[in-house]
Symmetry: C2
DNA sequence: CCAGCTTTGTCCTTTGAGTGGAGAAAGTTC
DNA sequence: GAACTTTCTCCACTCAAAGGACAAAGCTGG
């Protein structure tokens, strides 16, 4: 397979990102935006057309004189994103503007190990390929549920991914698909997804808190993911809430995750069901055999006081940790995402209450705290964005 | 006064910063470091000489052929730094390499208001000027003990600085001195000082925790200060440690500062002295009429068990908060600074113990936690660095 | 439908910055 | 002191970018 094209300089990279984020534009409009002479702009656009990255698309409406030619990203551009979760695999294909063209998902336990899980992921991609959606892959972004050495493109000592430690995910998939590949933490990708298509589009510095099986945080500084010196930045699940809280799997007591991870919430819900404190939860336990965060959400929505209390308490603990992080980081936006985000407004109200009360006033002065609107798509859109930023940059 | 010169392009800016940080260099050595043709390097250096920013300084040792000419920053370059603390003013003058040439300091209550305090600061600068240290001021960096709108160059709703809110510090001093001025939070400047001359020289991402009257944190991301969206990032004094802790001046209970700010430590020490729990502290209270963090340090160094306990407990609380921030931010270094840093190894040992036990293992794997070695100079060196980075950048 | 104006696209000349070679100057080594 | 090395300066050459001229395309109003 021919090596897929890359822009040759910063101007071309800039133009590609502009077309990706703002959609098709006339050459004249592009000239208004970028600081280039008409001649040079024409040259760079012609080169992008030659490279097959851009193509003409008819004429724009007149602005009072000759009509200008519209250019757009080549419709055959394709990015692939794998979002590997603790218990699921999501695979999506997007066009150059990162619109999702196809998205398949299946349950899969990440603990089966890298070889098995990546094989399944490639199988899923095969499905999309069979639908004829993928003429050519220009890049692939992969999210995994654990710490990643971004530089090396591999997980490092991931706690919930046995058999993945230092597995060369980037190089293996790169070999397989013959395209550029980047690997990152799944929460970071969700943050990138929100940055691209969600509520964070116009925010430079924000936090995305994902509450799922575990609890993690994506940090965006100046429009880019901040990963820290060893790639573990945002690992907030084991921040201390109290000294005398529940014992956590990590060995310490009172970690946030021990209070309100998916596992902790299920544990508390089952306890409430068994103790008879909550008839609603007891009924759900009877039906399903076990309880999860979704069931608590159901019961809370139905007005079960115990379920509501569980959500409130969880929100309070998240809020306590988040209040500290908001004081420290002074973000312009906080997004709450993950399975538990389905708990909705009860959760959000509680988090907001604690954060607005406990954070530095200057930091909360104009701080929206919102639920993610992208739901399942955030991860894959973020994966596409990650690799697209890479491919659409001057080599 | 003639507007002082600025570099004309990125190459000149790069060369100036190189000479600032690495010291005088021969033209040939510079050629090895920067990626420029010999001719262009010569042109740019000649221009810098013309601008008066750089000058020749004899010949370097031969490297096997003709000796190369050494260039250095002009010795008449001067940066001024004001470090305005809660109870003190520090003024320093540095050369182009940010070596402190003169440093004066005096007690001064910041609550006297902007006009009075800045007047005093300019008086102090006058002293240094009288010593003939300041042929010309190329830039001034100012640190103030509260949140700052960096863009506007003024404090915003600073809690301990009545009369300073939105006072145009940058413009007022700029008018007075006729040079570029930048204003920032004093903790941020200390972090910049450590980045330039301290232990953080080779670290891109680190935290500086200052424990003084209040408790604050300077955040360096990718070699630059991170200020957050409203300039209040790093305001960690009011992060919650416990729900049932001491009441804080901010109205909440259990803030870090209420446990271990300078005021809290003095409060606890005086209580211990009065209750008879600590004879050593009682004696110091007798002598001085009141107690401060330094006295606790003295008593602890002398082996007083109560004083040692106070330091340990304080360290533990700082550690608890810091552990969370380390998990979140994954820094490459943590520096403890401020008056309380004089408490030394007892404090540091306690902080380390808690952080290494409670932070994510990946984040602490290779994380030095150290005491600042710059002591009082960090602030003014940081101020000089701030404005120097600005002046030594392409306009 | 046509003349005159505006906008857009293309070509071509001009400009200017940067490169790299030649050669002189200055040192070292044997 | 001869031969080689390194450094510096000067200069011719290359190449990218700017911007003007002109052609093409479209609108407006009579």
């Amino acid at each position: 397979m021919r090596m897929s094209a890359r822009p040759q300089n910063v101007h071309q990279a800039r133009l590609l990102r502009l077309l990706r984020d703002e959609g098709p534009r006339s050459r004249a409009e592009l000239g208004d935006v970028v600081r280039l002479s008409r001649s040079k702009l024409a040259v760079e656009l012609d080169r992008l057309v030659e490279l097959g990255l851009v193509e003409g698309a008819g004429l724009a409406a007149s602005r009072g004189g000759r009509r200008s030619g519209i250019v757009r990203l080549s419709p055959s551009l394709r990015f692939v994103a794998f979002d590997i979760g603790a218990t699921s695999i999501d695979v999506a294909v997007t066009d150059g503007a990162l619109e999702v063209l196809g998205h398949v998902s299946e349950q899969c336990d990440v603990r089966q190990g890298a070889t098995v899980v990546l094989e399944r992921a490639l199988d899923l991609l095969g499905k999309l390929r069979d639908e004829g959606l993928i003429p050519q892959v220009h890049g692939t972004g992969i999210g995994v549920p654990g710490p990643v050495s971004f530089r090396d493109g591999m997980p490092v000592v991931p706690p919930i991914m046995p058999g993945w430690d230092r597995f060369p995910v980037r190089d293996a998939i790169g070999q397989e698909l013959g395209c550029p590949v980047l690997v990152d933490n799944d929460v970071n990708l969700m943050a990138l997804g929100e940055l691209h298509a969600g509520l964070a589009r116009s925010v430079d510095d924000f936090l995305l808190v994902k509450i799922g099986t575990g609890i993690g945080c994506g940090i965006v500084v100046d429009g880019a993911i901040y990963r820290g010196v060893s790639g573990s930045a945002g690992d907030i699940g084991h921040i201390r809430v109290d000294d005398d809280g529940p014992i956590c799997a990590c060995g310490n007591a009172g970690c946030l995750e021990a209070y309100f991870g998916g596992a902790a919430l299920a544990r508390d819900a089952e306890a409430a069901a068994r103790s008879g404190a909550s008839p609603a939860l007891a009924a759900l336990l009877e039906t399903h055999g076990r309880l999860s965060a979704e069931h608590v959400g159901e019961a809370a929505a139905a007005g079960d006081p115990t379920a509501v209390r569980l959500v409130r308490e969880g929100g309070r603990h998240v809020g306590q940790v988040l209040a500290g992080l908001v004081s420290f980081f002074n973000p312009g936006l906080v997004i709450i995402a993950g399975g538990v985000a389905g708990l909705g407004h009860t959760l959000l109200a509680e988090i907001r209450g604690v954060v607005y009360r406990r954070s530095a006033p200057l930091a909360t002065g104009n701080l929206p705290i919102v639920l993610s609107e992208l739901a399942g798509a955030a991860g894959v859109v973020g994966g596409a964005r990650l690799i697209s930023d890479h491919v659409f940059s001057a080599s």
